[in-house]
Structure formats: structure tokens, C-alpha cells
Amino acid sequence: MHNSKRLAFVILAMIMVVSLFAGCGTSADNQASQAATSAASTEKSTPESNEKTSQASNEKVTLIWFDSQGAVKSWNDENFKAFEEKNPNIKIDFQVYPDNQWKNIIQTKLSSGSGVPDIVHAPYSDFQSALSAEKNFETLDSEPWVSRLIKPEVLKFNDKIMNFSFDIPVDTAGIVYNKDIFKENNISVPRSYDEFLKACEVIKAKGITPLLIAGKDAWTIQIWQSCALGDYQTRKQPTLSADINSGKQKWADLKVYEDMNAKLLNLVKLGYTNKGVLSDNFDSAVDIMGKKQAAMFIMGEFFIPMAIEKYPDLRLSIFPIPYDNDVYLANQGVSGFGIPKAAVHKKEAKMLFDFLSQPDQLERQHKTKPFIANFKDAKSVDMPEYKKDIMDDYVTPGKICMQANDTIYGETGIDGSGAWQLYQAMLGGKMTPQQVSEEWGKKFADLMKQKGIAGW
């Protein structure tokens, strides 16, 4: 009797625990089980039978789109609305993660196989290294849009297409400048650091801040170093990435790195920058540039359409970081979309890619962020003035290079943002350029060790 009572209590206790779990996890579990069921059916059936099943059952599908905060602003919602209208059973759910976390979150999802999204948006360099594209992502070689690509090689990993993207990547960064202020003061685009200083002096004399640094957001400062290092690697030391990543080239011994930091700091010391280099942020830059309170801004070209949207009369363009003579304009690698092998709705994700590749959708996307389409049948659209400048002055003559973020850090997947705080410390008067080199060298070594990179 006593034992049976004890047993009854234990059973009762277990039931209470189980019911608690059931109560807590209802909605999530439903979703998970739905996803699991759907995944199972997708895996077992052929694409044809799957399509028939989907159409016959009118099953509602939610495509999970994984993106980072900074990049998601680049997409035109109208494209996705149009896709959802054409496919009423498919909804796109954007899951947007902070810029400093998305990489680890997606790595975790991919390695655990839990909560894997249907579409992942990431830079090419991250697909290559941090996300192990060949191991984790679907090959897209047989997709219908592939035959329409102008340059399929920009989307290839070891000769396989594993990404979808709209464009041939021309997404540059450097010094965004106001063409009208330059014209009014007879300033031509500086081709050297000395010419840049002279331009700053003329602009300062007119009571305008020559160079805006939105240093509260540390990522804006590092554009200077990432672009300058990219140019240095292209023109002077092609083995720079390999040398740094193998430990052959120490940061503390890389004199050009110290020099480019010293030149940036010098601009602050000479009073050519805004007073609050560490208190102004990216969000305030549109108004500062739009109201012509500053003539130049260390930034990517993506800023230009944002500023022009608010200040339509603004004429902005871009030139390379003037740390040296005749510097190349720094570009970023393609930013693409991949479908994880473990995704639940691969078929629908592929349908979305095909839809986005259609000429009318490319035209629609072009309104958000002008780009050079990588599709043969893309309608010819008028390039904005700044994009023509970039094409004529840098892309066509071949004066273009990749940013160090794509090369040095991209190869290993190392998070280079540890250096950004050092740049802030330097601009805030707490570190010298030499100390930045030494400290970043130490941090870099730690990151390489933690990541288990060979030779560290």
C-alpha cells in the first residue's frame, strides 16, 4: 500500500512536470513539428511530386530569411510583396540579427541543424569561410536563372554556384564628397594625401567641416583602414593577406598600417574633422551632409542614395581613401543568398530566387540600391550620376581593389571589429598609431588562436 502510494505520487509528479513542459512549449513545438513534417516530406519526395502536393494541398509556407541588421536595409520590400501576391501560400519572414552577432547565430544554427533558415544572406567571404558553403549550402548550378548570368564566376565556389545575387559587385567605399562644394571652391578630386590636406584647408576656410567622421559608430571609422589596406595589397603587396594570416607579416611591423592611422589622426589634429568625431553617429550623417555642414564623409557608396532620397538636390560622389598617391577605389565582394542544405523549404526558396532574377524585379530592386545587374536580360536602367563616376573613373580603367575586410579577415572568418575600438581610442587621444598596431597585433593573435587557425 505504502509503495503504491509512493508510486502514485511519483507518477503524479511526473505528469505535472510533463504538463508544464507541454504548456510552455505549445506554439514553438507546433511550428517545429510542422517544419519537421514538412522537411521530411520535402526530403522524401521528388521536386515534381512536391510541387503537385504543395499546389494540391494549398499548404501555407513561411520562408525564413536570415539577415543582418545593416544589410537588410538594402532590399526593396516591393519585390517580396510581389512574390507573396503571386504565391499567396508563401510568406517571407525576415529574421534580422544584430551586425555583431548574426555570424555566430547562423553558424550555431547550421552546426546544430536546429532552426535552420530557408535563405541566408551573407557576404561572399563569409560564405567561403565562416559558413563553409560547400558543406552547408545547396548547389544552385541547375537553377533556371543561372543560364542568364553575365558573370557566373562571381557566384562560384570551387566552380559551383552556391549563391544567388542580383549584381556584379560594385559596392565601393572611401570618401563620399559633395560635388557642388568642390566645384564652388575649384577643388578637384584629391589624388594624394597632400592634395587632400589642401582641399581640407580650402573647405575649412569657407566655414564648412571638411571631413565628417561618424565615430560613435566604430564601423564607420574602419572604412579608412579597410579600404587603404585593400589598395596596398592590390598595388604593393599582393601576398599581404596570406602573410598576415600565416603570421609571417606582423601587424606591428606593417609600417603602412601605422602610417595610414597616423594620417587619419593627423586630420583630427589639424581640425579638418567635425568636433565630435566620437559623438556623431551614422544616423546624423544624412542631415550633416544634406545641409552641407560637411563636405566629405568616410563612408560607403550605399550612403549616397540614402542621402539623396532625403535631399534630392544633393550631388554626392566618392573617391578613394587618400592615404597614398593614386589610390584605387575599394570594393566589397558580392553579397549573396544561399539555401542551407538543412532548410525546410528549399523548393520555395529557389522559386523566390528565380522570381527575383526576372527583369521587372531587378528594375524594382534597382530603385532601392542602384547596381550593375548580372543578368543578360535585365532592362537597361539609367545609372545615377555617382555610379557613372565610379564606373568611368575607377571600374573601367581597372583602378579598383577589394577591401581588407573581404581579403585579410574574409579568408579566415576572423572578426576584425576588435580593431575598431582601437581606432576610436586613437581618435579619442588614448592611443598612438604605433600602439594601435601593437595592440591589434596582440588581439589578432588571440583571435587566430581562439579560432584554431593553423600556425597560431
Binding site: 555583431n100 575600438q421 581606432y423 588571440d446
Partner: protein
């Protein structure tokens, strides 16, 4: 004898299972993971001994975060308790506006820290409301770059935290005041004691239980600082306002999960190391009425 108990100890089983599963298991596994190289891309998690702790005490960012945590804790403990006690003493007097004033001082404590972060980010810019006010009263020399000056920023964040929670600590002291018998003050008045004398000899000793609670709460929240710093500066600029809590967040974001766990473990250990002896010491000082 032989009477069946309505509640047997088996009834604790559900709670015990939940406690073990959701508290003890993560805590113990957290201690284990703080001695590993746990990262998202590592398929095998290796035991690394005290490597993470060695890194914590040699990395300049972490050493600076430890220092900032103590600065933040000291300023907020002193600020919240001294100002809270003064406000409570002032608002314990029978004045017409005291209920309104009590409410006004308490409001920041119920505001979201995120809202406060956004508000003060705007107020404390070089051209913000605070500096405009200082300039307008002829104190332009004191109009500083409160959130971008690397030497100043941790103090600014600490003062915002004090501003937010001082009303909350005021209510703790006010509740302490309500438990002091009025006869003590009446007897002191008859004996000719002045206000300061009454405060030192009656209020303070009788308020010791409230002071203990307030001190401990402010100490724990000070050492566990995160939300005020994160919403105002994110630990920047140049990591000048990083505290342990924000570095833990940063390390997890960077994928250094083993290191982040070790740092979090160290933070718990520090809080316990400081607060438990303090708790025993303060309890001895309490006065029975």
C-alpha cells in the same frame, strides 16, 4: 501516529526537477564550459584548464572592464544610497507636496532603461539639452562631451544609473522611516535634541535594516551593471565604458562562448565574494526595536 500527511515530501519532486533542470544543470555546466574553448564553429569542445581565466586577467579590455565595473558600482552604491536617504529624509516631513514629489522621484525607476538610454544619448551630446542649459547659465566651461570623452564616459553612465534608481532607494528608506516609533522623536524633542542630532542618533540606527537592504541591492546591481551601459554607450567609445556585463555580451556575440561563460562565472563569484560577507556584517549591525 499512522495519520496520512496531506503534503508529503514527494510533492517537491516537480519543483525539484525543474530547479535541477533549469537552474542547477545550466549553472554546473556553465562552470564546466568556462574551462573550455567552446565556440560555435568548434565541433569538439576541448577542456583548456585555466586558460580562459588567464586570458581574462591579462587582456587589457577585460582588466579595464573590471576596473570600470568597480567604478560604476562604487558611484552607484554611494549615489543611490546617500541621495536616496537624503530624499527620503526630506520627503518624510509633512509637507503638502510630498506625495507628488515622491511620485516624481520614483518615476524614472519605472521607466524602461532603453528609453532612458535613448533620452540621455540625446540630452548628453555636445549640442544636447544639458550642454545648452550649461551654456545658457554661463557655465559653458562645464559643457563637456559627456558620452564621447574617454575619461568621462563611465562616470556619466554611472550618474545616469543613479538618476534612474535613486527614487527606488528613496522608497526603501521611506518604508524604513515608517517603522520608527514617533515616541523616540518626541522624547528627543523634549530632551532638546536638534534635527541633526535626531537624524544621527535615532533615524540612522533605526534605519539600519533598510540601509542594509538598499546597500545590498545597489551593490548587486552595481556589480552586475549591463543595461544602463549598453543602452547609453554599448561599452564605447573605444571600450572606455565596458563593464563585465557588456563584455560578456560582446564575447558571446563574437562566438567566444567559453570565455564569455568564464567571465560570467567570475562576475557571479565576485558578487558573492563581496556581498555575502557584507550581508553577515550588516545583519550584526541591525537594531531590534
Amino acid at each position: 501516529m499512522g495519520k496520512t500527511k496531506l503534503y508529503t515530501y514527494y510533492m517537491i519532486v516537480p519543483g525539484l526537477i525543474l530547479y535541477l533542470l533549469f537552474y542547477m544543470f545550466p549553472t554546473i555546466s556553465g562552470i564546466y564550459f568556462s574551462f573550455t574553448d567552446w565556440r560555435p564553429e568548434n565541433e569538439i569542445i576541448k577542456f583548456t584548464g585555466i586558460e580562459n581565466l588567464r586570458y581574462i586577467f591579462t587582456d587589457s579590455l577585460l582588466v579595464s572592464a573590471l576596473k570600470n565595473t568597480f567604478i560604476f558600482a562604487v558611484i552607484t552604491i554611494l549615489g543611490k544610497n546617500i541621495l536616496g536617504l537624503l530624499l527620503a529624509t526630506g520627503l518624510n516631513v509633512k509637507i503638502k507636496s510630498r506625495n507628488i514629489l515622491r511620485t516624481i522621484y520614483y518615476i524614472p525607476a519605472v521607466l524602461s532603461t532603453v528609453v532612458i538610454g535613448v533620452l540621455f544619448s540625446a540630452i548628453l551630446t555636445p549640442e544636447g539639452v544639458f550642454n545648452t542649459f550649461l551654456n545658457s547659465i554661463g557655465m559653458g566651461f562645464a559643457a563637456l562631451d559627456w558620452l564621447a570623452d574617454l575619461d568621462l564616459v563611465i562616470y556619466t553612465v554611472s550618474f545616469v544609473a543613479v538618476w534612474q534608481m535613486v527614487g527606488y532607494h528613496m522608497t526603501i528608506f521611506l518604508s524604513g522611516y515608517q517603522s520608527i516609533p514617533t515616541e523616540l522623536y518626541e522624547a528627543a524633542t523634549i530632551d532638546g535634541a536638534g534635527s541633526i542630532s535626531k537624524f544621527i542618533n535615532i533615524s540612522l540606527p533605526m534605519l539600519v535594516p533598510a540601509i542594509n537592504v538598499s546597500l545590498l541591492m545597489s551593490m548587486i546591481s552595481g556589480l552586475n551593471a549591463f543595461s544602463n551601459v549598453y543602452t547609453l554607450t554599448g561599452g564605447g567609445p573605444a571600450d572606455a565604458s565596458q563593464v563585465i556585463g557588456t563584455v560578456v555580451f560582446k564575447k558571446f556575440g563574437e562566438g567566444s562562448w567559453g570565455l564569455g561563460t568564464a567571465l560570467n562565472f567570475l562576475q557571479c563569484f565576485l558578487v558573492a565574494l563581496i556581498c555575502i560577507p557584507l550581508l553577515f556584517y550588516l545583519r550584526k549591525k541591525e537594531v531590534d526595536v
